[in-house]
């Protein structure tokens, strides 16, 4: 029984997809991720697709679902490492990934998230005028 591993990295969860997703695997991934976001209180999910050479509408739907589910639990989703050929194909296919941020790699993805997320401890410590302070 294989499942795609989910790593916890601080406030984020990292999923690295390295195999072809099929129905059961994809459903398990969605369920596992949602559960983990909920139990860990993660604020973001990073999906690393640098090893994925084909993204079709099925995969697109899974990513979209993950983004929507995570958003409901107050977590952002960032897809990282998209291969150029995949980007070109997705644009031609007309596939949109609504609610999904993208970044070149995991490092950039984390930088992006730092700017997006307001962490709970920040709100408590906020005395000054800055409204959306990012962790510097």
């Amino acid at each position: 029984m294989d499942r795609i591993p989910i790593l916890k990295m601080g406030h984020f969860l990292l999923v690295t997809i390295q195999v072809d997703l099929y129905d059961r695997l994809a459903m398990d991934l969605e369920a596992d991720l949602v559960k983990m976001v909920s139990t860990t209180g993660a604020r973001a999910v990073l999906i690393d697709i640098s090893a994925v050479s084909i993204v079709d509408s099925f995969m697109g739907r899974i990513i979209g679902n993950i983004a929507s589910m995570s958003k409901l639990l107050d977590a952002e989703t960032v897809v990282v490492g998209m291969q150029p050929a995949v980007a070109i194909t997705l644009v031609e296919l007309g596939l949109e990934l609504p609610g999904v941020h993208t970044a070149l790699n995991v490092e950039r993805g984390m930088e992006l998230l730092q700017g997006l997320i307001v962490f709970d401890n920040d709100i408590d410590e906020q005395d000054d005028e800055d409204d959306h302070t990012a962790l510097s």
Partner: protein, 265 residues
């Protein structure tokens, strides 16, 4: 062979002689009673090969199709001359044999035209590829900023090349901003706009952002009149403005050096 079409600038007399000899020899060896009337006969494969070779190499050297054609047809004249000498006394036979030779060499000359055209087409294809290569450079103007001056019309095949080069460069350099300068694009219609939008979308999927610069006033008018919506893409009138915007976005500043202070740059 024919004097009128001797191109001494392109081919020396010795080369011409050698080429002619090879052709004649192969033809003579292949020719016999039966196949003279059979233009398709495999016996002539070697002759056709030599002819194709001659045609392609002449095309590359710059001979016109007429000149190459004349070369082959001159063989016909030479053969007919020989026939005239040999069959002077038997006019009916002379006519018959002349017809056969005529048909045979005519078909050979058609072969040479076909291969000539093929040779030219290969040159055109190669040049098209070269043009595509050099006309879509991706320039690293700064750390993390790429510039693409697009010169000429932007059709779907060029867009493919632009996208591939740009995205690969983004991966290679980790750039986050790409400036597409279209001041060299003569006309922007809905199709070209679509190509630009696709390029921007693909760049965004890679986690980078695009700025379109070089929008001339006429282009701005056309875009609005055509109802093309570029509202979610940053556009600037000039590359300079786009660069300034890019620096700003990356929180970089360009300052004038003051007189006596030694700057540690």
């Amino acid at each position: 062979m024919t004097n009128a079409f001797l191109r001494e600038d392109l081919m020396s007399n010795e080369e011409l002689r050698a080429q002619s000899e090879e052709l004649v020899e192969t033809l003579v060896n292949a020719l016999n009673e039966e196949n003279i009337s059979d233009v398709e006969s495999p016996d002539f494969d070697e002759v056709v090969e030599i002819l194709s070779g001659i045609s392609i190499s002449r095309a590359r050297q710059g001979f016109s199709p007429r000149e190459t054609g004349a070369f082959v047809l001159s063989l016909k004249h030479a053969l007919i001359e020989v026939l005239e000498r040999e069959l002077k006394s038997d006019l009916a036979k002379l006519y018959e044999e002349t017809l056969k030779v005529n048909r045979l060499i005519d078909s050979f000359s058609i072969t040479t035209f076909e291969t000539f055209i093929k040779g030219r087409e290969e040159v055109i294809l190669r040049q098209t590829d070269e043009i595509a290569e050099i006309s879509t450079p991706v320039i690293r103007v700064w750390d993390g900023i790429l510039a693409l001056p697009i010169i000429g019309t932007l059709d779907s095949s060029r867009t493919q090349i632009v996208m591939e080069n740009l995205l690969q460069e983004i991966v290679d350099t980790g750039s986050s901003l790409a400036i597409l300068d279209i001041s060299g694009v003569p006309a922007v219609d809905s199709l070209v706009a679509q190509h630009l939008i696709k390029t921007v979308s693909a760049t965004r999927l890679m986690g980078a952002e695009c700025i379109i610069s070089g929008i001339r006033p006429e282009i701005a008018q056309t875009i609005v009149h055509l109802g093309i919506d570029l509202s979610n893409i940053v556009t600037k009138a000039s590359l300079a403005h786009a660069l300034k915007f890019a620096f700003n976005t990356l929180r970089l500043e360009v300052r004038k050096k003051s007189g006596t202070v030694i700057d540690k740059n």
